[in-house]
Symmetry: C2
C-alpha cells in the first residue's frame, strides 16, 4: 500500500504554508484545496474535517516552535538564555505569522497534553534554573514569562506598538532586561 499518513502530512504542511500566506483563520478546506489544485471533497480522505485540519496545523506549529526554542537555549544561561529563548518565539512569530497563530489555537485537554505544549513549560523551567528562584516561585515565573512572550508578540503583531515611539524593538530588549532583573531579585512572597 502507498504509505498512509505521508500524504496527510503533506496536506498539513501545505495548510501551514497557507496559514502564513493568508492567516490561520482563513485556512479552510476549500481554500487549501484550491492551493493544492484538487477538489475540496478530496481533502476529506486526509483530514477528518475543518477543525481537525486546524488542530493538525496547530500541533505542527507547536513542535516547530519548541524545536526553535530548544535550539536557542542550548549552551546558554542567564540573561543570554532568556534573550535567545524570547527571540526564538518572536522571530518565529514574524517569520511564520500563520503558524504562530495556529500555535495558539485552543486544543482540547487530551490533544493539548499530547502536544509539544508540555515541552514548552519544561524548557521555560530549564531556563529558570539559571536564576535561582525559591522552588515555589518557579511556577509563577514560568507563567509570567509565558504571559509576557505571548502577550507582547500578539500585541506587536496586531500593530499595537507600530505608530508610536520608541520602537517596538527597543521596548522588547528593555523588557527582557527588566525581566532578567526581576528574576534575579524576585520578591519574597508575603
Amino acid at each position: 500500500m502507498a504509505r498512509a499518513g505521508l500524504a496527510a502530512e503533506r496536506v498539513v504542511r501545505a495548510g501551514a504554508e497557507l496559514a502564513d500566506e493568508i492567516g490561520f483563520e482563513q485556512v479552510t478546506p476549500s481554500e487549501l484545496a484550491r492551493k493544492l489544485g484538487i477538489k475540496t471533497a478530496s481533502l476529506y480522505s486526509h483530514v477528518k474535517n475543518a477543525h481537525d485540519l486546524k488542530t493538525r496545523i496547530a500541533l505542527l506549529a507547536l513542535e516547530e516552535l519548541a524545536d526553535q526554542a530548544s535550539a536557542a537555549i542550548a549552551g546558554r544561561a542567564g540573561r543570554d538564555a532568556l534573550g535567545a529563548f524570547a527571540n526564538a518565539y518572536r522571530d518565529y512569530a514574524f517569520q511564520h505569522p500563520g503558524r504562530f497563530a495556529a500555535a495558539r489555537f485552543r486544543l482540547d485537554a487530551a490533544t493539548a497534553a499530547s502536544s509539544a505544549g508540555p515541552r514548552h513549560s519544561r524548557m521555560t523551567r530549564a531556563l529558570l534554573r539559571g536564576y535561582d528562584l525559591p522552588e515555589l516561585q518557579e511556577t509563577h515565573a514560568v507563567r509570567l514569562l509565558g504571559s509576557v512572550f505571548n502577550g507582547y508578540v500578539e500585541l506587536e503583531m496586531a500593530g499595537g506598538f507600530s505608530h508610536s515611539a520608541p520602537s517596538s524593538e527597543e521596548s522588547w530588549t528593555e523588557i527582557l532586561d527588566a525581566l532578567d532583573s526581576l528574576l534575579r531579585n524576585w520578591p519574597a512572597s508575603s
Copy 2:
C-alpha cells in the same frame, strides 16, 4: 422618523450577549438573527456585514473595559492601583469572556484610533505615575503591563494553568507582587 441608530445599538448589544454565551468567534449574522427571532437578511439594515458586526461588538467591549478599569483605579496608587487595574481586566474577562475576546479583535488602524484603545494606554500611564520611572522607560513599562495582562488572562482562559498546582489565583497575585517590585526597582538602561 424612528430614531436611527437605536435599533443598531440594540442589535450590537445582543451580539455582545451572544458572544458571552457561545464565544465571540461563533457570533455570526445567522446566529444573532436566530437569537433575535428574526430572519438573517433583516440584520443587514442594522449592520453592514459580518465584519462590521464584530467590529461594533469589539468597540463596545473596549469601552466597557475602559470604564471598568477607570473606575477601578480611581483614588488608588501604587501596588493598590496596580492590583485593582489588573483585576478589572481579569474580572471582566471572566464575567464576559465573549466580550473580552471581542476586545482583542483586530481593528484597522483608523477604527482602532477612534476606539477606546488609546484610553487604555492613558490609564496605564496614569497608573505608572505612582511609580517614578525614568521618562523614557515609561512606554516600555506600559507595553510590559499590557502584555502581561493580556497574555496571562488569555493563557488562563485557554485552560493553560488549570490542571497544575499552584492555583492560577495564587500565581496571579504573586505576579502582581513581582511586577510591583519590578516597577519600584526598574533597572537603569544600558
